[in-house]
Symmetry: C2
Subunit: 341 residues, 2 copies
């Protein structure tokens, strides 16, 4: 089931409900390198078969330049040239790394993704943002460059650990908060256990989220405005994620909780409790104690800063996110107030 | 004197015959970082004044990832955000590094160049190709992304060492060979000493070369065809450049000499002697002995390889370059024949 999506200077084919084995119809096996991590490789060995494969150590701590160097060395060993393809098979760390290397190796090869986690399916693999962390700064280096295809195989989720389901749900809840009130309701009415049992419901939810994010990206590929909404929960989230080595979804969930409180103060938002309830229902942390001063030092370097203000994402109501420019000073004192109270 | 040039998804303003001091009219001083090397910094201290400046060690051996890491760390120290500018002030190494970092830092900042060498003025700063070397492989990692402006100040050439004048002339002669027979004649009729004395002639020559390269790039920004012509002399040149630590122009000059001989065999080219004479007149080496086997191992990884053949640039006649696909095996034996005979 192919859906072709157009971006400003590229198009991407989305294959929903498709077996990962169909990869061989999309790329030439002899001129393709799959990039994955040890976990995914161990769980889906049949999928990798005799494809050229680069297997990385799993985890966000490897989303760094040293790993990029290692991938490039292996591409040279394969004698990969510009006619080759790179396909990332994995979660968000793998899609971020793969997209980035595909953008810079020989000034750019074609690439595609087979996302294997909820997070990668509904978020990381979509929209062309890629990159690596630099020290404590998340995604400080990277590109915006669209993959040629995304191949969605729900069966790959069978081996996903519970913690990764929870991690991915943070982005689903984020999408509902900023853009889709009916989906928020659907999340309130269901549970993670139900989603894991009901394959049709799950496929539908993933597709709905993939297309929601796609629509936002299409409207603003290079993040001049609208696309910033997708950073709901991420400004503070990114700051504390690497500080405390938190799962991405946990960090974003804490970030969304704080953003709800900021919204209550700045936009008159009144539904914080419903958001917190849904986050907790899907196993996510909400209220947390952290070192505000240290977080602030990282947060002020966020890519959404513009001079002395931060473009912060707030909610008017569930389903309606907005971008608000908050002076750095005011933002700092509000954060101190919420986190220490 | 501003000339606006359009590329596929960006435009670049060329300021010919303009004082470098006019930079302050183009970018906001408080949100700009200049990137340069110790030589350029020492020779043009007044130009840098109180601008935020990153000063790098000079030389091709620093066109590597470690330097990119160092630049990124310094941009973080400046708290540079997406609203900042990066301006490369220097030769080809500086423009390659600066363009690359500007492309990946925070997924892309605006950038411009003030080229300070002949090579950078007529070649490296034009067309958006940037990148770094990986081990023995030249420019193996990089992007194609256009600068917003190029500022040409001929007076900056005053401090350019003789060896760098010679280096740059290799690219001028290359342009003449592939595209501009009248310019080739002009080069035959003049000398480097004359060019250095006659500022008007020099300015005219630089402009002619900058616009020649620009036209080729505009026709084929992402190097599907025509733009490959600019690699005349570079396929072999790049292979031997890092092997023997040669100046870029020397390596390309040797590469052009070999390409003329290949052309004689494959296209019936009859003007090798005239090309060799001009190269030598401008101080460039032509015939050289090198380790063909070792060069071949590097050459076969060239970005212009497509499967089992190499897109090699040959001449039909002076002023008319062509792209010819040569099977790797045949190319290897021809190279062995020419270099060892």
């Amino acid at each position: 089931m192919k859906t072709r999506v157009s971006f400003s200077n590229a198009s991407c084919d989305y294959y929903f409900d498709t077996s990962a084995r169909r990869l061989e119809e999309l790329v030439p096996r002899a001129k393709t390198v799959l990039v994955t991590d040890e976990h995914v490789f161990a769980h889906h060995q049949a999928l990798f078969g005799d494809w050229n494969t680069i297997v990385l150590k799993p985890g966000e701590q490897y989303k760094v330049q040293e790993t990029v160097n290692a991938i490039i060395d292996q591409l040279l060993d394969f004698e990969a040239d510009r006619s080759w393809w790179i396909v990332g098979v994995g979660g968000g760390v793998i899609t971020d790394l793969t997209g980035y290397v595909a953008g810079i190796y020989m000034r750019g090869l074609q690439f595609g993704f087979i996302p294997t986690s909820i997070l990668a399916m509904v978020d990381a693999s979509i929209g062309g943002k890629n990159g690596i962390d630099v020290g404590i700064y998340k995604n400080m280096v990277g590109l915006i460059r669209q993959p040629s295809f995304l191949l969605y195989d729900i069966d790959l989720l069978k081996s996903l650990p519970e913690s990764e389901w929870i991690n991915g749900m943070a982005e689903v809840i984020k999408h509902a908060c900023i853009k889709d009130a009916p989906m928020f309701k659907l999340l309130e009415e269901n549970t993670l256990a139900k989603l894991k049992r009901d394959k049709a419901l799950l496929a539908q939810l993933i597709r709905r989220n993939a297309l929601l994010k796609t629509k936002v990206v299409q409207a603003d590929e290079f993040e001049q405005g609208e696309r910033k909404l997708l950073n709901f929960g991420h400004t503070l989230g990114h700051a504390i994620e690497n500080m405390y080595d938190l799962p991405h979804g946990h960090a974003v969930s804490i970030g969304m909780t704080v953003a709800c409180h900021l919204s209550a103060r700045l936009t008159g938002f009144t539904q914080t409790e419903r958001v917190v309830d849904v986050l907790e229902k899907y196993g996510l942390p909400t209220y947390a104690v952290f070192d505000v001063d240290k977080a602030w030092d990282i947060l002020k370097m966020d890519k959404k800063r513009a001079a002395d203000a931060m473009n912060y994402i707030l909610l008017n109501k569930i389903g309606q996110g907005i971008i608000q420019s908050i002076p750095l000073e005011g933002l700092q004192s509000l954060l101190i107030e919420f986190v220490t109270s």
